[in-house]
Symmetry: C2
């Protein structure tokens, strides 16, 4: 009998899907997808972060991967029910492969698969010691000269990197390195994190004084330890710094602070990196098997080269170097740029009593923080979502289940609504001369973030200062040159300045690889970040996933990890599992390794 | 129509109960209790921690308190259902008083109240800023010279205790002081915690090397931030130390380390304490309105006075001073005492290569850790309990709902089962000469803890070392004296010793008040801890609650806070609310202030 309930529909379909896969009947499996379909796989079938689009790509992937993946036991996830709305039936699912347990999500249209998400939850036999499997801590029984927890930690600290090599080295101890390091520690992968600053959290503490997270707390949890219910919605930078510092400590990370990576090279024969680091002034040579650059997708400053920068007699800073307004009360400041940092810095300088001019060279997407929270994030990441049972894990997976190819279609209506809600606000801004955009296709902030990681400001107050002229604005102009005392704009205007702040953004993460390893390797792996959407600053061809992030690159054993706290949390899971599998000698045949289309 | 479902029964009863209270009809309210009844109130009706037993006491309490308590809105708690088993119908309930929201638990027998628990959840108008009410963090909008979070924290640290006085001073920065401090911070009560050690957590770090928590992780959470799912079952002391340190920091406590309280006095007219503290060598005078001693219910060492201690040429230490076995390999050690510390220290010394003799002067209750977890705690505090929906909050409240007067009746069968399960183990121990007990009435470990806070060892391995003679045992003997080189037992045996460890326990917390304030005040408040059960080391008369803990004492504005992590977590809620109410000028008429029957 045909069960037409959502549970019945999903169960029947995944039973057939599972049977087809078990029988190696790829045609039958492909036939369960509709023509317009997307299968996003996070490490289970592809050992990659990969979306295949349309039946041909599904067929190609299965042809390459099915034989060794050995998927079984597809079912609606325990404790979940399928649901149906607006012609789409959807459900959480679970399954296994030969080596792993998977969790996923499926959407059906007209009885066929529209979207499928398959993610790796854990490697069989290498489960994290959580819950029932947590360590005992105390050592029951008795034995001569047993070591205490503290002695074991001290011994590990003394040995790792010296008499014993880490399997993985993470360069960069911000939220990305720390989240990944925590997962690798749980998976028993010996790892060292190196961080140039003196304390974990300093990468936040050292930024401009007024900085707070622009993403809300529900979006920002680290793995394993949630922020408490009294944590502020938008945490101030020093508070996040303190949290990261304590987190690194209680998660028992091997965190080498005051340490910089000087140079690295890969031995293709020994399958091993040689990384020279300087720790508290002392050179140490590390020999990890895997090298992760977690130096920040917004880590490497883009410093422009304007004529006259060498003769300008005032101060010049990249936004990442700007200390805050204290020293600039009564001074005249020109801030070049109009994204998040530029706005935050301008507002803080104005608050601190400086005379501030923002130079906006190209248009910017502005969205009010409240509107973004209510309309953009609220369904997945908010107190309401938590109350509705949307745990952080589920929110992450729902977000991950939306194929990048069509994500803008989900986003555009949200930003249309925001545009309508805040029409008067946008009108005031434009009246002040501010050049606005909502992305090339009107899809707003998230798509800009995923495509180019820039081009927007989440408004927490600076826009009103621009609208009312408190922050002076020059827009639609370039920089001609700097003189001894001023910035000269392309229209000839002279802006006297005691300080020029270059809020000119950050370069692609493979720039880090060029500095640390070689230009050759940087070019071999190519540009990081972006989807190939053929929109501004994200040139095509279409990639389907973010370039080089959290997945194998063209350089064996070299990985890039980063992004906001949400991405650091969620994708560290898949990167950690990829590294763990390699450590354990589990076969990891990669499907669809990206090709390189851009160098930076 | 009579609804005989559990929900119907409870609803009908509490509707009638609520109506009787609303009408001031105390007789009608009392009539809803069965003769054999217990009403435990945590701060809502009594502004005390108080159990009234039997109808007469219920009547007396209501007569004194109903008029100003104004209870309303009794209902089955939102999202909960009543249940029925073994002749008892029970349910979570909620209610309000004039000034607070309450949560509680009720058990009915034959349609009447057998046990009632009423606890204060929050004060109306003074709710904690959690969830929807959490702070924004970032300061949206703009304003000249606004302070950042960091600047505000620094300003508070510079002012509090100097230009601005704390409302509350907590002496002792272990888990008790920290948990209470965190709650008071959330309630907006300006508080300083002083701690003699250099770092939060040092009170754990400085104890003997092998120490791990004897209570499992599910029992040990602090408020607001749970231990993560990878946290060990029995955390090693240094790991707990690190957690407490990070917790004090991220919860933004005003934690003065390296600070000791020198002397304190209360001005009955000004309603204010004068407390002289020494912080990093500098004397500072604090003027708090409320003074909390959180110096440890096991904090003040009992050092015995044996003849010859002054001429003994070896080392002598109280167990709290014992550093661990390193220095004693190959040495001969006598440990006097047979409770937890004595066992842990003996085992570690044996493991470290010392020759160890334990001197057991009176019988000890031994329970194997596994058995205690499985049979004693598992239903409320375990991974299984968590999976069954027994949150930490519910577990705490279920435990709190069992009246102390009859708690042993619930406990005895548990220990009968443990005795049967581990019969062979106990037989081996007794064969080695170890004197066992299960408490005066066979009710086991928890009752011993609540009554006297001593007299037991949770076995994690030392008992087998005693059974097999690895740790030598002398039992049923006293100490006659020490000579230059040995301990002489009451039976004349001479035990040569390089080191004598006095694992002789701790005194009543009012000893701290004698040291800090005066003997007069210490005597006025009397003995702390214990129930008045008329069992060994817990003399009667019956008190109904633990003496002086977390509730008003005979000394105005002086409070005692302490206990294990469970108690520090749970009772800090009620103590914090009592202090907050006083700060806000809310009337707090105390019912049934305890009278003093014992001085220590």
């Amino acid at each position: 009998m045909l069960d037409t309930s959502p549970n019945g529909q999903v169960t029947q379909l995944i039973d057939r899907f599972g049977a087809a896969l078990a029988n190696g009947d790829i045609d039958a499996a492909v036939d369960l997808f509709q023509e317009d379909c997307y299968w996003r796989d996070l490490v289970t079938f592809t050992w990659n972060i990969k979306t295949v689009e349309g039946r041909d790509q599904v067929r190609d992937m299965l042809t390459a991967q099915l034989g060794h993946t050995r998927p079984t036991n597809f079912a609606i996830a325990a404790g979940e029910d399928a649901s149906h709305a607006d012609g789409v039936t959807e459900s959480w699912i679970e399954f296994e492969t030969g080596v792993a347990r998977g969790f996923g999500h499926i959407r059906l249209k007209n009885g066929r698969i529209w979207t499928l998400l398959t993610t790796m939850a854990e490697l069989k036999g290498h489960e994290e010691p959580l819950g029932h499997a947590r360590p005992l801590g105390a050592k029951h029984g008795a034995g001569k000269n047993r070591k205490t927890w503290m002695e074991e930690r001290q011994e590990e600290a003394a040995e790792l990197g010296f008499s014993r090599q880490p399997y993985c080295l993470i360069v960069g101890g911000g939220q990305g390195g720390i989240a990944l390091g925590a997962r690798l520690r749980q998976l028993g992968v010996p790892t060292i994190i190196i961080e140039r600053n003196a304390r974990a959290g300093d990468s936040w503490r050292k930024r401009y004084k007024s900085l707070c997270l622009h993403d809300p707390v529900w979006y920002d949890h680290l793995p394993y330890i949630d922020f408490p219910r009294n944590w502020p919605v938008f945490a101030p930078k020093d508070k996040i710094g303190d949290w990261l510092e304590m987190y690194a400590k209680v998660m028992e990370l091997n965190y080498w602070s005051s340490t910089t990576a000087k140079r690295a090279s890969y031995d293709e024969t020994a399958k091993e990196w040689t990384v020279v680091v300087e720790r508290d002034g002392r050179e140490i040579v590390l020999k990890p098997k895997q090298l992760v650059l977690a130096t920040g997708m917004s880590g490497k400053a883009n410093m422009p080269a304007f004529k006259g920068m060498d003769i300008f007699e005032g101060e010049q800073q990249h936004s990442s170097q700007h200390p805050g307004p204290e020293a600039y009360s009564g001074k005249t400041v020109v801030v070049i740029g109009a994204n998040n940092s530029a706005h935050d810095i301008c507002a803080a300088l104005w608050e601190g009593g400086a005379d501030v001019t923002m130079v906006q060279r190209s248009s910017t997407h502005i969205v009010k923080s409240d509107s973004l929270m209510d309309l953009g994030l609220g369904a997945l990441y908010s107190e309401k979502a938590v109350e509705a049972g949307v745990t952080t894990r589920k929110a992450d997976l729902i977000f991950a289940s939306l194929p990048y190819r069509i994500m803008h279609e989900f986003q555009t209506p949200v930003y249309d609504a925001i545009r309508a809600r805040d029409a008067a606000f946008y009108e005031r801004l434009e009246k002040a001369g501010f050049m606005l955009d909502f992305g090339d296709d009107g899809s707003g902030l998230f798509m800009k973030y995923l495509r180019r990681g820039s081009g927007y400001y989440i408004d927490v107050g600076a826009s009103e200062l621009i609208a009312d002229g408190s922050i002076k604005l020059r827009s639609g102009v370039g920089i001609r040159e700097l003189t001894k005392k001023a910035v000269i704009l392309s229209d000839g205007t002279e802006l006297p300045a005691d300080l020029v702040v270059y809020a000119t953004g950050y370069g692609s993460m493979n720039g880090w690889a060029a500095d640390l390893i070689s230009r050759e390797v940087a070019d071999k792996v190519g540009k990081c970040w972006g989807l190939g959407s053929a929109t501004t600053k994200d040139p095509g061809p279409w990639e389907g996933e973010q370039r080089n992030m959290w997945k194998p690159t063209q350089q064996e054993a070299l990985w890039f990890h980063g992004g906001n706290l949400h991405q650091s949390r969620h994708y560290s899971q898949y990167l950690a599992l990829q590294i763990k599998a390699r450590k354990e000698g589990i076969a990891t045949p990669v499907y669809g390794l990206q090709t390189v289309h851009h160098l930076s």
